[in-house]
């Protein structure tokens, strides 16, 4: 069966419509089916990356521009120019400059997943409290007050619990 629209290609899309009891069959080729619906490719990672460092650059004061990572020698401009972070220590060195972009990209910029084996035993009350407080700040900034209230209660509860143990 050939496409009923162009009459050239093999019909590969077969649509049955039923409008007010009138059943109609349409047989279209892939190209004509696409034209009628305009399947559009979706945004990918590169688009996100394209806008990733955009705003961070302007907000960096001049003095910080000459700061270099002790781990790999990168300055913040190197990271912006390449779109790649030099080493693990860069994150510590340039955290302040990176955070706005990280939050734009990931929302909450606090890790919530797995930890390496060596540190598994370590999720201490302090680090958990710190993470919760960070989430609270983020929630307040984002004006998500319900979430903020819930977080505040959890922090209070943990602090109370801590006192009992002391």
């Amino acid at each position: 069966m050939l496409c009923e629209k162009c009459g050239k290609n093999v019909a590969t899309t077969h649509i049955k419509t039923s409008i007010n009891g009138v059943v109609e069959s349409h047989h279209l080729c892939a190209d004509c089916a696409r034209l009628s619906h305009a399947v559009q490719n979706q945004f990918g990672l590169s688009d996100l990356l394209g806008t990733f460092f955009g705003e961070g650059v302007k907000t960096v004061p001049y003095a910080d521009k000459r700061k270099r990572c002790p781990g790999c020698g990168s300055c913040f401009d190197d990271i912006v120019a390449s779109g790649r972070v030099g080493c693990g220590q860069c994150y510590e060195t340039f955290l302040e400059q990176l955070l706005p972009s990280l939050q734009r990209m990931h929302g909450k910029a606090v890790h919530a997943g797995k930890r390496p084996r060596a540190e598994e035993a370590a999720p201490t009350r302090e680090s958990e409290l710190e993470a919760l407080k960070e989430q609270l700040r983020a929630a307040v900034n984002a004006e998500q007050f319900e979430e903020a209230a819930a977080l505040r209660d959890r922090i209070h509860a943990m602090e109370e619990e801590g006192k009992d143990h002391e």
Binding site: G86, G88, H106
Partner: protein, 336 residues
């Protein structure tokens, strides 16, 4: 040993495969774009030794230095989804740990020091994650990762910070595509930090109705939650695709599927693009039970073996495009 794609997974009518990827880096060594040749060698060997030191896992892997491989072999690995195109293109100082059934590949010194990738046929994100997680545990027992309490696993590209997890599904959605529903799916997906992309296409035109759904956000979300989101999206896409398939005109489907099968069975030269469009029709026919005596696993295996490099690797010599199209037609005739 059978390769992973020769078996049939769950929800195979709509889900072609599941892929889990974990990005990891070693502490105290610059990320790959700023590494010296000596540091690359060090990282490759340290990771290899850490994996081989694990008595059960170690036995399942072989270690390949990428620069020793011929171009065609490396490109065929890309077509089988074992490695990334960038990893194949610049192989100097890079290494690969590959499991026997090719379901697990660990790229060393790609964009990150370690990229653990697990493939499963059909819908199996939990199973694939479990495998990747076990390898990650084995490695981290012997290596110190670059990890930060607040930012999680540190990665060369900040898009992977946190869990370093990319969970994706390859979906076959011909009916949803034909109905124009992909955009709606993409809109839903983007609301929960995920993305949909056409695969196998050049530029904006997706080929063969194959779409990849994956998570975009890796920081502030647990591995379990990311996988749950992926499952939720998959459930929605599968349900929509099935509903649309059942509303299609069965006579038309049968005609199209057999025409495609007929062409593949008798054609003497088939380009890669034409092949993908035809096999997509055949896949739909088999999945809907219109084509009866052809196993879906055969279709899957053929789909993954018909790329330009795989064709040449199978023939054992470089072929020009016209020769490849002939070899591809021959392969299809033999398998179908």
């Amino acid at each position: 040993m059978n390769k992973w794609y020769a078996s049939l997974g769950k929800e195979a009518d709509t889900v072609v495969s599941t892929r889990i990827r974990l990005a990891r880096n070693l502490a105290g060594i610059p990320f790959p774009s700023r590494m010296t040749a000596e540091q690359r060698r060090q990282v490759n060997e340290q990771v290899r030794d850490a994996l081989f030191a694990d008595t059960t896992l170690g036995k399942q892997f072989k270690y390949l230095e990428m620069e020793t491989l011929p171009d065609i072999t490396a490109e065929a690995m890309v077509e089988r989804h074992l490695i990334s195109p960038a990893f194949a293109a610049r192989r100097e100082g890079k290494a690969l740990l590959l499991s026997e059934d090719e379901s697990v590949s660990i790229m060393l010194c790609e964009e990150d020091h370690i990229r653990i990738q697990v493939m499963e046929a059909g819908l199996a994100p939990e199973e694939a994650y479990r495998t990747a997680n076990a390898i990650d545990d084995a490695l981290s027992a012997r290596l110190t990762y670059a990890f930060d309490e607040r930012l999680g696993y540190l990665t060369e590209c900040p898009t992977n910070l946190g869990t370093g997890l990319r969970a994706s599904l390859m979906l076959h959605l011909p009916a949803l595509e034909a109905s124009g529903g992909i955009n709606r799916l993409a809109a839903t997906v983007s609301k929960i930090g995920m993305t949909v992309r056409g695969t196998y296409g050049e530029g904006t035109k997706p080929v063969a109705a194959l779409y990849q759904v994956s998570n975009q956000v890796t920081l502030g979300i647990s591995e379990e939650a990311a996988i749950e989101n992926l499952r939720a999206i998959a459930a929605q896409a599968i349900q929509q695709e099935r509903a649309l398939r059942s509303s299609l005109d069965p006579d038309g489907i049968e005609d199209a599927a057999y025409r495609a099968l007929g062409t593949l069975k008798f054609a003497r030269a088939v380009t890669s693009q034409e092949f993908m469009e035809l096999i997509s029709q055949v896949r739909l026919g088999v999945a809907m039970g219109v084509i009866k005596d052809l196993p879906l696993a055969t279709v899957e295996e053929l789909m993954i073996s018909a790329g330009p490099a795989s064709i040449q690797a199978a023939e054992g010599k470089p072929l020009d495009p016209a020769e490849r199209d002939k070899a591809r037609a021959k392969l299809a005739r033999e398998r179908l």
